[in-house]
Symmetry: C3
Subunit: 351 residues, 3 copies
């Protein structure tokens, strides 16, 4: 747990940007403008915190081009200070290298193909004909079915389950409790009972995808469920059978997407967003937290249906009004008729 | 992974229905009308896709009685094409038979009773006095407490947890990450702190129940939590202590049901539906996705409180109007008084 | 599974309160007023069930001071009958004591410090420099990373994952499937791709915290995520990076809290409540089920934004009205102008 030290000069030598001021002092790590001490480097990504540049105790800061002269402490000037911050943290906290080899208490089927540079943890189970790529890590207690493929450099944290036939790309990160490839929720009603529809599709996950803790991605019914490259998926998310998530989209926690829906590229679904089944979002759609999408969206933009909370008594009164809206609309229409006047933007369907 | 082949004649011989046209061509599997090739059989369950019968490349199709002559390709005519499709997929993809026996790295208590035909996977833990029925399968890494009962032919996928005393019926399917019998959320406030109420009820699950990945069903406080036969439960669902779910109901992903609520028979709760505690739904209630149920429902039917999303600016304006609804209602009432007229359906509680 | 028996005299001797009536009959357990038999003790915590005191078959009841004479059966009179009930259940159902020792199939790093009185279950993995306190129990299949600390008397049920560096206080209960310390959802956009921000903070959990099944609590980005003492957290809850939950708060199932938000002390978030990122709730805030909090709350009280369901046709009509609210408000304003009258509480921003 001793971390490496870097001077500003060394940081810009690795990551680019311009170092301004004293560049030879060793720094021990990254911290926020509020909490950084004299041996740490902080960052300014959000302009509303610019005033903190004057009060921070940080030994150095990362700022954008426009803030070159807003700080007097030693600083790195760059195009995208938030991305630069991300890379700086990675510099100070390099990930442990895999420890190649198969733990003696792992159960790896004889027909599986585990690259010699991969790390297989304690009590891992790997089924027949599965394949683990170079430098991949399979955390303790993970269970991989048959014909599972794990790409180069991908990391499964402890206790990930991959059902038969799932494919995971390169450089992915799967967190603990993730379940990929469980059966989609498919069944047919027959004489008052449900008949299970065997789910014989699979799940294909592209390169550079991250999947958060306890998220579930179900296998397809006939075709596959697909997560394209660069998608970032947070915790406790449900992705149902035959969904497709476009490249470089991000899904925050507790999102739930019903079967056969399609999310475009570079979309952002904030926390708790829900999508009905069989809807399609075009590329570059942003949905604000908690919102519900029941119809397809074919125009990039920001969408919402979230209701912010009120004091409960006030809210109860509002809900009462909402429940009587139809009556209220009819009364308004009646008054308009009574006085012989109506605003021209009246919706003609109202009566 | 070589699948069996079947001719139309063989399919109807197994599953019933009427084969029309060429019945002796071997088919290799099931696919959608869009993706099926000449060696595959597709199905038409939703009339809105009927036009695809004319363009599909499928070698055969499954259709309802009314569509007997709507297709010219070889076909199976039956009463319920969606259920027939389910059975046809099962025919082409028979489930592996259990491999009887206890994995050498499983930990089974000496007092547990494991049927000789059951399959117990690697690293499974089974506690004292538990009982595993004939042909049951307990997937790798599953943990069963004491006095757990698993019925005949039930399958636990890898990594299921069953706490002490839980009972699972016959032919159930429990997916990875399921937790059954964890403590209900019961506590009493005492002088500003919470005192835990030990949860000493259990969970009883009937026959033919399926439970999706990472779903949790808590044990009862004093009495049991009960899932009746034939209930289908999707992923990431929360069923709290002392809930009862009636037979043949279906709960889609991310449903959450609070303590002591009762769902009737043959109900359908779509994705993300929430039920408050201590509410009762009668039989045959359907709740649309995302909706919130805070009061009991005693009439079969379809219910909803979902708000579909709008473009965010439009939605913000609507929310502003909602927040001022009480004021608006009062203004309307005042105008009515001013002009001496009000529509007769005015709610008399408005003022 | 034979439970101890207690007389009323023995119960009040252990737990306080006053025994009234026959005090020497042995009782076998606790049940509800509805289901209790002559050898069981029931309780009355909710006054709306007072009439059941006249019909219960219970051999004894626990009542509040005010109900001393409302019952004729043998009874315990106390200040807080619900808390007394909790303690009585615990008396009849004492928890099993830990069985000290490390299971032969556990993998404990040589540098870890496991107290001799702790119980470490089958297939547990404990990483370097971790520490397990006296009387703690680590359930089968749990995986603890490096530098994890577990306090005295804490119980991990089977299959809990704690990532590197997490700290759990004393007397905590963590249920199956809990994941603590997975990476927060932090990333920076850079040229259309997401760059991961390494999450180098940790998670600190205070004493007497309970965490429900399959709940996830992410590690902080730079600083820690913090759960203060006495907090009770139900199942399938998401607590994002850098959140702080104040002491003795309670979060019911399926709550999701986005990054950097702060919940005060003694707050109650009912089921399915969502909090946006970077909001702060002061102490003693109650949020009703399903509600969404997008702004900070600085006044104790009860808050809500939940919409109760209606019959679907009625609801569809209401939604149509909501979508046209802006038009309706403009029409009302126009009518007011036309008749030259407006109620004085009209919101002046409407036009």
């Amino acid at each position: 747990m001793t971390h490496p030290k870097f001077t500003l000069r060394e940081i810009v030598s690795s990551l680019g940007g311009e170092a301004v001021g004293e560049v030879a002092t060793p720094l021990t790590g990254v911290a926020t403008l509020d909490s950084a001490g004299p041996s740490e480097i902080a960052f300014l990504a959000n302009p509303k915190y610019r005033h903190k540049l004057g009060t921070t105790r940080a030994g150095a800061v990362i700022v954008g081009r426009g803030d070159r002269d807003a700080a007097s402490v030693p600083r790195i000037v760059c195009d995208n200070p938030y991305a630069y911050y991300a890379r700086t943290v990675a510099l100070f906290h390099p990930e442990d290298a895999p420890e190649p080899g198969i733990h003696p208490f792992a159960q790896v089927d004889g027909s599986a193909n585990v690259d010699a540079s991969a790390e297989i943890g304690a009590f891992v189970v790997i089924g027949a004909q599965s394949s683990i790529g170079p430098g991949a890590r399979v955390g303790a207690h993970s269970v991989l079915g048959e014909r599972v493929t794990i790409g180069e450099g991908t990391r499964l944290h402890p206790r990930v389950t991959l059902y038969d036939g799932c494919t995971i790309g390169a450089r992915c990160i799967l967190h603990s409790g993730v379940v990929i490839g469980a059966d989609g929720f498919g069944m047919a009603r027959d004489e008052g009972r449900w008949i299970k529809i065997p789910q014989v599709g699979s799940v294909r996950i592209g390169d550079d995808v991250e999947v958060g803790a306890n998220t579930t991605i179900d296998r397809g019914a006939l075709d596959d469920t697909v997560i394209e490259e660069g998608v970032k998926i947070d915790n406790l998310i449900m992705i149902a059978h035959n969904v497709r998530i476009g490249a470089h989209s991000a899904l925050a926690a507790a999102v739930a997407i019903a079967g056969s829906s399609v999310v475009g590229k570079r979309c952002v679904l904030a926390g708790r967003v829900g999508l009905s089944g069989h809807v399609t979002l075009c590329d570059d759609v942003v949905v604000l937290g908690t919102s519900f999408i029941s119809h397809s969206i074919n125009k990039p933009g920001v969408y919402s249906s979230a209701l912010p909370s009120e004091e409960a008594g006030t809210w109860r009164r509002i809900v009462g009004r909402i429940k009587r809206l139809d009556s209220m609309a009819k009364r308004l229409r009646a008054v308009e008729k009574h006085v012989g006047f109506s605003a021209i933007d009246r919706d003609s369907s109202e009566d």
